[in-house]
């Protein structure tokens, strides 16, 4: 009987739940939660349960496709590989290596991301390698590295259950990390206080004890107000500050300019609530700050993260098993893609490209000369309008849907000499490619993902890719070998062994050590058991650093012409650009139409009811979508999920960037709203 059960890891969010795929005659016919998994423990969210539904979809890319005019034609693999090598090589020769850009993938494995950045770096002597972390947790990596020395979640997901207080900032975890939310509820059941900071009244907020419904983008005033109150009432952890931190005096001085009243005014909150939140957090013995896009996707995103670190250091709530600072990494392998050096300024393990000793180490390992100039971030490259970058290789990313100010993104892609896109489905981005390479989805490859709690877990191949599609590891090896690079790997495990030899954080990571349960980095040696929580004795940088968080209000605030705050985000049944979820029946059944959330008071004033067609416009673009009247958004704000290609919310967003991490301000811009008449005329 050809019935097999294959254990693997979910391809959606950064929780990294365990799946058991049921395979019959080469097809995935069922999907069950892994009851043996240390994190998900036999649960899945609706996306996890439906993770197998898109695998055998008829729209899967099944052959390399070359564009001729407006249509794509299948070509054999060797022709495709030769074309990639020839065209990218030509660009490098003519314009230099820095004219090449590569986008690797938070949905591909660690091994594939490692090979990708090795290809770009060793193959073209450039550090123009990037991926979508730029759009989500770039500020986290930048801010937490500066304050604590490490940009990753300090604890494990299971640790939430032991907290006395959990402060959730800018995270709709009930919809985006349901399994993590379960751990948070477990804490609540044991008496923990939950506090939520979010301009929207999400389910997380409604199920918590305190909801601080701040004005969008005022997180730093809130935290400063809280810290001021904590200091005024001597609730800070003085012993911790003295023993384990630096820079308190500078912060203390800065906080002298803040009061709870000033914060309350800035945030549009009741001062007593701020006091209550501050006292609850400070007086708890064990407390977490959990945060996500509501904190990072601002033009002051890095400063927001620094403010959170300041708060945690002030109260001594980091470096313990049940206390810490926890960014929830969104993609199944965005942590891994960052860890593997899919960033323009670091090699695998966050080793800086500009450091001569590191450069030498990798040159020696890879047998090629490397560049010591940090590369361009994707937001800068697109924002500049192009010119610097002439050819781009995209693996498993959909920037046309996910980057801000879509028209600029499209303009950038259109002016490229050569664009090769490697993906599993046609997307909004693939339509601009000169060449498409058909890759493999999670069920068709073996490799590792690193989840948000730094847990490196295995994926196991369950079925073959359709048609001529190959897994991305194979494609990268073909290209690398054709370029004369040392890409002679027989199996992804060999890639991880190489990573381990060059990356202290992954020093002891090998495939044979990953089952069951994976390993949490840092894992520097072969006999090291992994690290459930960080900064126990010392911070990664030695002492925790207090950094003054410079507050800048949102770049584009509502005005006469565009009177609403436009917030973009996610919903429970779709994932990011919808490439996978819109092709999954169980998920599109839930919602298959774009919508915009409008407060009842605003709706009444304009004369809109749920179901009406509405036009949402910003200075960048306009979309026509469907109204959903709900009290989830407050008056003066509207919210749209960005999953829907028919009404792409990210076309409207502003590409104003955080100066440090270059993340766009997805969470706030100014919009207008009108009812759309059925004949298309407003």
């Amino acid at each position: 009987m050809n019935v097999e059960f294959v254990k693997t890891t979910c391809p959606y969010c950064g929780t990294g739940c365990g799946l058991v795929l049921q395979v019959r005659d080469g097809r995935v016919v069922g999907n069950y939660p892994d009851r043996d998994h240390p994190v998900s423990k036999g649960s899945l969210c609706i996306k996890g349960w439906s993770a197998h539904e898109f695998i055998h979809h008829p729209e899967r890319l099944t052959a390399p496709l070359l564009r001729k005019g407006e249509t794509f034609h299948p070509i054999p693999w060797d022709e495709a590989i030769d074309l990639v090598v020839e065209r990218l090589g030509r660009t490098a020769e003519t314009h230099g290596g820095d004219a090449i850009g590569g986008l690797c993938s938070a949905k591909c494995t660690n091994e594939e991301n490692y090979l990708f950045q090795k290809l770009i770096r060793a193959g073209f002597q450039t550090n123009n390698v990037e991926h979508c972390a730029r759009l989500c947790h770039g500020p986290t990596v930048a801010g937490m590295s500066q304050a604590l020395g490490s940009g990753a979640m300090t604890n494990s997901i299971k640790d939430f259950g032991g907290a006395e207080c959990i402060l959730i900032m800018g995270s709709n975890a009930a919809e985006t990390f349901p399994i993590v939310m379960g751990e948070i509820y477990r804490a609540r059941d044991r008496g923990a206080r939950l506090m939520v900071v979010d301009p929207r009244a999400t389910e997380v907020a409604k199920n918590s004890h305190i909801h601080l419904q701040i004005r969008s983008g005022t997180d730093i005033p809130l935290i400063c107000g809280m810290m001021r109150h904590i200091l005024d009432h001597s609730l800070e952890d003085r012993a911790f500050i003295a023993a384990r931190t630096q820079g308190f005096e500078t912060l203390n001085e800065y906080l002298g300019g803040w009061t709870v009243e000033r914060a309350a005014k800035e945030c549009d909150l009741d001062g007593d609530r701020i006091r209550e939140a501050a006292e609850t957090y400070a007086t708890a013995t064990e407390a977490f700050v959990v945060f996500c896009m509501g904190i990072t996707q601002h033009a002051c995103g890095t400063a927001n993260v620094l403010a959170i670190c300041d708060l945690a250091l002030l109260c001594g709530h980091v470096g313990k098993e049940y206390s810490g600072v926890c960014p929830l990494r969104g993609q199944c392998n965005v942590q891994g893609a960052c860890d593997m050096g899919g960033l323009p300024d670091v090699y695998p393990g966050y080793q800086r490209v500009s450091e001569p000793r590191i450069k030498k180490k990798f040159e020696h390992a890879w047998g090629r000369e490397l560049s010591d100039r940090p590369g361009l971030t994707v937001t800068e490259a697109i924002g500049s309008g192009g010119g610097d970058i002439r050819s781009v290789y995209i693996m498993g990313e959909n920037p046309v849907m996910s980057d801000p100010n879509r028209n600029k993104t499209i303009a950038f892609l259109k002016q490229l000499d050569f664009l090769v896109v490697q993906d599993i489905f046609p997307t909004e981005t693939t339509q601009f490619a000169h060449l498409l390479l058909p890759g493999a989805c999670f069920a068709e490859k073996t490799g590792t993902f690193t989840n948000t709690e730094r847990r490196i877990q295995l994926l196991r191949k369950a079925v073959d890719s359709p048609g001529e599609a190959r897994d991305d590891f194979t494609i990268l090896c073909m290209i690398g070998k054709a370029m004369g690079l040392d890409f002679d790997y027989r199996h992804p495990s060999e890639v991880m062994d190489e990573v381990a030899s060059l990356t202290p954080l992954y020093g002891g990571v090998h495939f044979h050590r990953l089952s069951p349960g994976g390993l949490q980095w840092p894992c520097p040696a072969d006999d090291h058991p992994g690290t459930p929580f960080l900064h126990k004795e010392n911070f990664t940088r030695g002492k925790g650093l207090f950094v003054v968080p410079e507050y800048t209000p949102p770049v584009e605030s509502p005005d006469q012409d565009y009177p609403y705050i436009f917030i973009t985000g996610r919903m429970f049944c779709h994932y990011h650009t919808g490439t996978m979820t819109r092709r999954s029946p169980s998920l599109s059944r839930e919602t298959d139409k774009p919508f915009v959330e409008i407060n009842p008071v605003d709706a009444a004033r304009i004369g809109i009811r749920t179901g009406d067609a509405v036009r949402v416009s910003t200075r960048r673009d306009a979309i026509v979508t469907t109204a959903r009247i709900t009290e989830r958004v407050s008056g003066g704000s509207i919210f749209a999920a960005f999953h829907f290609f028919e009404a792409p919310a990210d076309a409207l967003t502003i590409d104003a960037l955080d100066p440090v991490s270059k993340i766009p301000e997805f969470k706030v811009c100014a919009a207008n709203l009108r009812k759309e008449k059925s004949d298309g005329v407003s």
């Binding site: 609540r188 907020a205 409604k206 199920n207 918590s208 004890h209 909801h211 959903r628 709900t630």
Partner: protein
């Protein structure tokens, strides 16, 4: 309607008890006759109820009753024939068994089982029908409003 479990909650002013909304499934072989009769005789009845004729009380899926409560309807009645008199081979027996079990489930989650009125053979005269309905409304008035469910499931609840 999303996750608002009660249409009836919208417009409900703080503290004011609106007349409960009631749906009555009436089997057309007996209870419906009583309902029609009550109408013809212009018996004084509370206003806010609807009669839905069904072929047999057993035709009423418990799901419909549950759905009615989820819409905020305060009381649901299922009125059928007396126990020897079902036209459909004692289908009303099975209805009774089913509905008794449904009452257990409603009671478990705190939706008073008194909100589900069952009558088999006691509603087919017009005055019987009127009496049952009046008693039902009386009983419902004594219960906390169903939108307590909605309010219980809010942030205020766990501050208690």
């Amino acid at each position: 309607m999303g996750n608002r479990i009660s249409h009836g909650v919208e417009g409900h002013r703080q503290g004011e008890r609106r007349a409960p909304k009631v749906i009555v499934f009436a089997c057309r072989w007996c209870a419906l006759i009583g309902a029609d009769g009550a109408g013809k005789k212009r018996v004084q009845l509370p206003l806010d109820f609807r009669v839905i004729p069904v072929e047999c009380a057993a035709r009423v899926e418990p799901d419909s009753i549950i759905r009615a409560f989820s819409y905020g309807i305060e009381g649901v009645g299922v009125l059928g024939c007396h126990l020897g008199g079902c036209r459909y081979h004692n289908a009303n027996h099975r209805a009774i068994k089913r509905l008794d079990l449904l009452k257990k489930l409603l009671a478990t989650v705190g939706i008073d089982s008194g909100r589900l009125l069952t009558s088999f053979g006691t509603g087919h005269e017009y005055h019987q029908f009127a009496g049952i309905l009046k008693d039902f409304f009386q009983e419902l008035r004594g219960l906390p409003p169903l939108d307590e469910w909605a309010r219980a499931a809010t942030i205020d609840a766990i501050k208690v």
